[in-house]
Each structure stands twice: as C-alpha cells, then as structure tokens.
Amino acid sequence: MPHRFHLPPQVLRIVLLAAGIVSSYLVARYFLTPPSFRQYGFYRGAALLELGDREPVYAGRKECVSCHDEAGAKLAGHEHKNLSCEACHGPGQAHAANLDVKPVALNFSHCVRCHEANLSRPKWHKQIVSKEHYPGSKCTECHRPHSPNEVP
C-alpha cells in the first residue's frame, strides 16, 4: 500500500485555493469582528452603551422637586398633581446642571395649549374658548397654575 491518500495535483490545487480563501476569511473575521458582537445577539453589544451615553435634555420631575420642594408640595392634592414641571416650564436639565442657566420665562400660551376647547379633546378635560373666556385678562388673575382648585 504505497499511497493511501493520493490526490491528483489539480484537485490539490483547488483544495489549497479553497483552504486559502476560507482561512483568509476566518482571519479577517477574527480581526474585524468587534469584541462585543454576539454579547446579546447578532449585533454590537457596545452599541447599547453608546446609545445610552448621552445627557438628557429634560431633567424629570424628581430632579426639579429635589430643589423646588415647595412647588412640588403645592401641586399635590390638586388637579395638576401629575403634571411634569417641564410640561409648562420647559426642559430643565441645563438649569439643573448649572443654576446660572435660567429656564425660559413663561407667557400664557402653555395654559391654552392644553385648555383651549377642541372638538377632538376628551370630554372629561376642562376646556375654554379663550376668545370668549374673559378675553384680555391673564389666566393667573383668576387661576393658580400650581393649585388650580384655589382662587387667588
């Protein structure tokens, strides 16, 4: 039994070529696959960290109330108790991070934004027609935004 595995040269060449292609692919894949690939699935796990690594713009009510606890206490027990501070006062992360940055001053557009009458709004929601509802007077003359059940 002189040769047990006799490969004709043309087959050997094809086998070597295929082996070369496959191994260069494997080497390239080894080097080019990011380390976090397949950490959670068929994607780069580090992308999760990167997407989460950004400063928020809205601070959240907890952050607001941590300093302005009197405003938070005033809201409780009134119709606006579930309202986020930033719904009326605008985004506050910049102010929370640096107290020199003041939140935007309010005009009264934020009141009618929710309370202007609209046919599509649900019936339980209190609505006014601002043109007919004491035109020319400020909302705060009769309503307290932080405690809407009280009359000033």
């Binding site: 959670y40 990167e50 929710c114």
Partner: protein, 269 residues
C-alpha cells in the same frame, strides 16, 4: 516514497503546532489593537440590559392632543428640523354615515400637522358631521417580530434585551430597507447623519432611571411606561394592563407589537 511517519513529517507538524500556540497571544494583542481603532466601546455604567423589559402603553382616552410629547421628543433626541418625528400625534376624525347609505360609519380623516407638535385646531369636518374625533399618539411599536430588524442587511438594527428596537449608528449604511419595512412608519433617514433613526425609548434616559421624555412630559398620563421585569402590582404599567381592554396596531401583520393601545377605534392603523 517518504514514510508518512518519518522524522521530517513529525517535526514539521510539531513546528506548525508550536507556531500556532505562540501566535495565539500575538493575534489577541493585534486584534485588540485593530478593534480599538475600529470601534471604541462606551463606558460601563452598571446597567444590565438583560434585567429589564421596558414597555409603553397608550391610553387614547387620556390624550388631549397638546403635542407636548412630540415637541419633547424632538428636543430630547435632537431630531432634525422638518418632517422628521420619532413620536407624533395623529388625529382621527370619523364622520357620520350619509343618511340612507346603510353604513355604520362614514369616512375616516387622519391628520398630523407638524406631527401634532404645535397642537391641533378644530377638525375641518363640520361639527354636526363628526361621529368620533380623537388623538392617537404614535411611536415605534416595539414589535416582538420586527420587520425592520429582519430586513437590515448589515445587522445594524436589533431588538435589545431590554425591549427597545435600536439602531447602531456606526453600522447603519443608510440603505433605507428598514424604513420601507416598518409598517407603522416609525423610521426616517436622517438628513444630518444619513443613517436611519427611530424612537430609542429614550435609551439614554431609561438606562439612567428616567422615563422617556414623552412619558415624562405627558400632562394626562396618556402614555404609560414601565419595566415588566421589575414592575410591582401597583406600577402604572400593571394598572394599565389590568384596567383596560387593549389592542395592538395592525395585528394582522403578526408583528406582535409590545406598545398596546387602550380606547382606539377600529379605523386606527
């Protein structure tokens, strides 16, 4: 013919094996160098995505169409100016059927001026012709079987273990397949980055323990958000599931959305 077990063959086999063993640590170092250049990883912050499952619910009965959510989303996520929204509000106005037509309902008019960001005026349909009119906040439906993930040719979009469907901006090539695949129209091609963008469930907020901007800002709790893996029975999301009869959008597509709606009409798509 050479002996298959000669000293020469044995030595060459052993030599190759030795080189291989020695090359492994070298390759590891080289790989670390290459990956450092190609992809830098963000800093670990102690948040484990496998320990959470974020989900959102929408109670349409509570939506007053103020548009604060769409505005907050745009600001929070630096969404490009123009008709690009990660969340928006649609108004559905269903007219009364024409008398004698034998129909139960008339036509459906859907509008979303500026994504509802600046609120809505009264519907154009005259008041006495309206059967129902209501607002429907829209966002990524967080599908269990996301068509957008299936079509991505480069593995740039994926279902994260904590329930968000995310896009890896470094891998996205901006081909737009996912934008066409999304049956809810929740994706767009950013004119700034030329990659696909979508709702990330405010991933940079949820991983820090904050609610998404739209949920935080919603004045009427029309948007409910919670962590199904850690929610107590009195958590708003559990109450939302308990107290409402829920519906998904386009259930016939089999996408199994995790965003559930309460109080929508059959016309809502």
């Amino acid at each position: 013919m050479s002996n298959p077990y000669s000293r020469r063959t044995l030595l060459s086999v052993l030599g190759t094996a030795l080189t291989g063993v020695l090359a492994a640590p070298l390759a590891r170092t080289a790989k670390a160098a290459v990956t450092n250049v190609l992809a830098s990883t963000g800093a670990a912050d102690g948040y484990d995505p496998t320990q959470h499952k974020w989900v959102m619910g929408i109670d349409v009965n509570n939506c007053i169409g103020c548009g604060l959510c769409a505005e907050a989303c745009k600001r929070e996520n630096h969404v490009p100016e123009g008709p690009y929204y990660r969340t928006w509000i649609e108004r559905y106005t269903i007219t009364k059927p024409k008398p004698g037509s034998g129909n139960a309902r008339g036509e459906t008019v859907v509008e979303s001026p500026m994504g509802g960001m600046n609120g809505f005026k009264d519907p154009k349909v005259p008041k006495d012709e309206i059967l129902h009119s209501f607002f429907v906040p829209k966002l990524c439906n967080l599908c269990e079987h996301s068509p957008c993930v299936q079509v991505c040719p480069v593995g740039a979009t994926f279902d994260s273990p904590d329930g968000a469907v995310l896009i890896d901006p470094k891998y996205c090539i901006g081909c737009g397949f996912c934008i066409q695949a999304c049956p809810y129209g929740c994706r767009f091609l950013s004119p700034k980055t030329h990659t696909a963008e979508k709702c990330t469930l405010c991933y940079h907020r949820t991983t820090k323990g904050l609610k998404p901007a739209c949920v935080e800002i919603c004045p009427t709790q029309a948007r409910v958000f919670g962590d199904l893996k850690n929610a107590e029975p009195d958590d708003p999301i559990r109450k939302f599931y308990r107290n409402n009869k829920l519906q998904a959008l386009k259930p016939h597509l089999g996408t199994e959305p995790r965003v559930m709606y309460a109080g929508i009409d059959k016309e809502v798509r």
